[in-house]
């Protein structure tokens, strides 16, 4: 009995779990996507592409897609710009506080998304920390609009995906080796040149991995766009929720959900491909 033949049994518990709570509902979703909505607003059992064609013909779907992609791209970029130096520091430090610092960095992950959003409201709101400080310093007269708009959602989303990106970066920094940077310096490269020629290229696979993860998490985020957007920020995730609950339009919600899922799978595949190519 070889190890490779035994291996699939180890996947069985997780496999059954995923099958039951993910694959089966997704199949039901797929079935719903072919249903129609009758004149009364009730769902009509059908096997047609009517709902799908109508949804994709609607200009709003395109706008939602663009909004989701743009929001995810900006939030991921901001989060990456903040996470990369931090992760590099955590990866390298030999401080005995390293473990504690790493936990602090990923602590937001352990806090409920709703609680985190209320935190941001306290910081970014009209009477929040930022506006209060700026006003007391006399830098602004009227409060800046930092929440219930795209700015607030982008900030909140960037913060919420950072812990995941930090973990992905730390996991992906494997090839990074202090000795390589020392070799670069001994060969005449300044610290800045060493970063550009050695550190950055070697951490590129980690960056792609982390960015891919951050992007996917942003695309599927619901709480942050919903609560920090104040009803003014429309993305795919919020629309799916609206259609499924407020409008009880299950077929449209199903079409949009599957569409989002497909988008994510394509993005994930692309980032994996890129990461693999870079690792070579």
């Amino acid at each position: 009995m070889s190890a490779t033949r035994r291996l699939p049994w180890l996947l069985l518990p997780a496999g059954l779990f995923v099958l039951g709570i993910y694959a089966w509902p997704t199949l039901l979703l797929l079935r719903n996507a072919f249903n129609e909505v009758g004149p009364t607003g009730a769902m009509v059992e059908a096997m047609s592409l009517k709902t799908a064609t109508e949804t994709f013909a609607d200009g709003f779907t395109f706008e939602l897609t663009w909004n989701s992609l743009w929001l995810s791209a900006t939030a991921t970029t901001i989060a990456l710009a903040l996470s990369y130096p931090l992760s590099l520091f955590l990866f390298r430090t030999t401080s005995r506080w390293r473990g504690i610092l790493a936990v602090i960095a990923i602590l937001p992950m352990l806090i409920s998304g709703v609680v985190r959003v209320f935190g941001w409201l306290a910081i970014l709101g009209d009477r929040g920390l930022v506006n209060g400080l700026l006003q007391s310093l006399g830098l602004i007269s009227a409060p800046l609009k930092l929440v219930f708009n795209w700015t607030g959602v982008t900030i909140g989303l960037a913060e919420s995906i950072m812990p995941y990106m930090i973990l992905a970066l730390l996991a992906g920094f494997g090839q990074l080796d202090r000795t390589l940077e020392e070799a670069s310096r001994s060969l005449g490269a300044s610290p800045a040149r060493t970063f550009l020629r050695v550190t950055l290229p070697l951490s590129l696979p980690a960056i792609v991995l982390a960015a891919g993860l951050g992007f996917v998490l942003s695309m599927s985020a619901y709480i942050t766009p919903k609560l920090l957007g104040g009803g003014r920020v429309f993305v795919l995730a919020t629309e799916i929720f609206e259609q499924a609950t407020t409008n009880t339009n299950w077929p449209v919600a199903a079409v949009l959900a599957l569409y989002t899922l497909a988008l994510l799978l394509v993005l994930l595949a692309l980032s994996n491909l890129l990461a693999r190519r870079l690792r070579r």
Partner: protein
């Protein structure tokens, strides 16, 4: 005139003094080994030379110019790392070209020099490979070529052969030595392997606890160790406990020896195993010959020689005999003789 001059170098890490007052003068074109056990400060010394760590005290000069605080990238040192530290994302050619590219040399000149450097280390034709597609020995050569191509002021080798298997290490030892000689490049070689130090260098600095215990030509280090540590660390030696008796004579294993020794106290007599001979008990000691007697515990055949372990009144000793000569039978009573001049006497170390 010395080319590379280390004066009073000191480096502390927390409470531990890694390097303590190391001074060393190296002539242009000379190869010097820093030999010592791990933790003796040899690598720290090398890293201070390369500018990878800053000394707490002391100065480093090259050709009269002080470089003690100069950043690593402006020192022009060729550093070959123990792990080779080849850039995994760059081809062999780009690895070797790295230093020249950073110096802003024209493309055509870089290409020509890289080709020459790869030819020098016998790696022509492998320029497009990635480092991980090379064997350990080949990686070592790339690292050497990369360090040499920048025409460094000093070539620094950090345990550079320790990751190779024994056969390859022998070959690389001779190869690096001949390249070093041909280019006349000043070289500092850090190693814990005495064979490497003895065969590859003009002089050896034996380091112990952050200090240089002795510096000299390989023969001098081997034949005239200045301290007990050097005698123990370089080559093999029997340390035979001895003392001066009330009659003023040196007594070793209950036998009286004619040796120059400290006026009083206990000390050890160091003798290299291959300088000792086993003779029949009946054979008397000649003039200027030290002689002890004992019983053969066992003989071990080691290929090019036979190690004979002998037990006597004061403990055990090992004699190295050329293989092929008849080894004495185990359990037999024999005498061991050696020229008195082959004895080195060091004070007993407090345990």
């Amino acid at each position: 005139m010395s080319y590379l001059e280390l004066a009073g170098l000191q480096k502390r890490f927390g409470n531990a003094t890694a390097v303590d007052d190391v001074s060393l003068s190296v002539a242009k074109g000379e190869a010097v080994a820093l030999l010592g056990p791990s933790g003796c400060g040899k690598t720290t010394t090398l890293r201070m030379l390369a500018g990878l760590i800053e000394p707490d005290r002391g100065t480093i000069r090259i050709d009269g110019a002080e470089i003690t605080r100069l950043p690593a990238h402006r020192r022009n040192m060729g550093y070959v790392f123990q792990s080779y530290a080849l850039f995994p994302h760059l081809s062999v050619a780009r690895n070797v070209a790295f230093g020249l590219e950073e110096r802003g040399r024209p493309k055509a000149e870089i290409a020509r020099q890289v080709e020459e450097a790869l030819a020098l280390v016998r790696l022509s034709g492998l320029d497009a490979r990635r480092p991980r597609e090379l064997s350990g020995g080949q990686q070592q050569r790339v690292a050497l070529a990369r360090a040499l191509v920048i025409h460094p002021s000093v070539l620094l080798l950090d345990e550079s052969l320790s990751n190779l298997d024994a056969k390859l290490r022998d070959a690389m030892r001779h190869e690096i030595r001949s390249i070093q000689r041909a280019l006349g490049i000043t070289t500092l070689f850090v190693t814990h392997d005495q064979v490497e130090a003895l065969t590859m260098c003009d002089r050896i600095a034996v380091m112990h606890r952050g200090r240089i215990a002795q510096i000299g030509a390989p023969e001098e280090i081997y034949e005239k160790p200045a301290t007990r540590f050097v005698a123990e660390f370089v080559g093999r030696a029997n340390a035979l406990p001895a003392e001066r008796g009330p009659d003023g004579q040196v007594r070793l294993w209950n036998e009286t020896l004619a040796l120059a020794a400290p006026a009083d106290g206990s000390f050890d007599v160091f003798v290299r195993p291959q300088r000792m001979r086993i003779v029949p008990v009946s054979e008397p000691a000649g003039p200027d010959t030290a002689r002890v007697s004992g019983r053969v515990l066992r003989s071990v055949f080691v290929g090019d020689h036979v190690e004979v372990l002998i037990e006597g009144a004061g403990g055990q000793l090992t004699v190295e005999m050329p293989s092929g000569s008849p080894a004495p039978a185990e359990g037999s009573e024999v005498a061991v003789v050696w020229p008195a001049t082959e004895s080195r006497v060091f004070a007993r170390e407090a345990p």
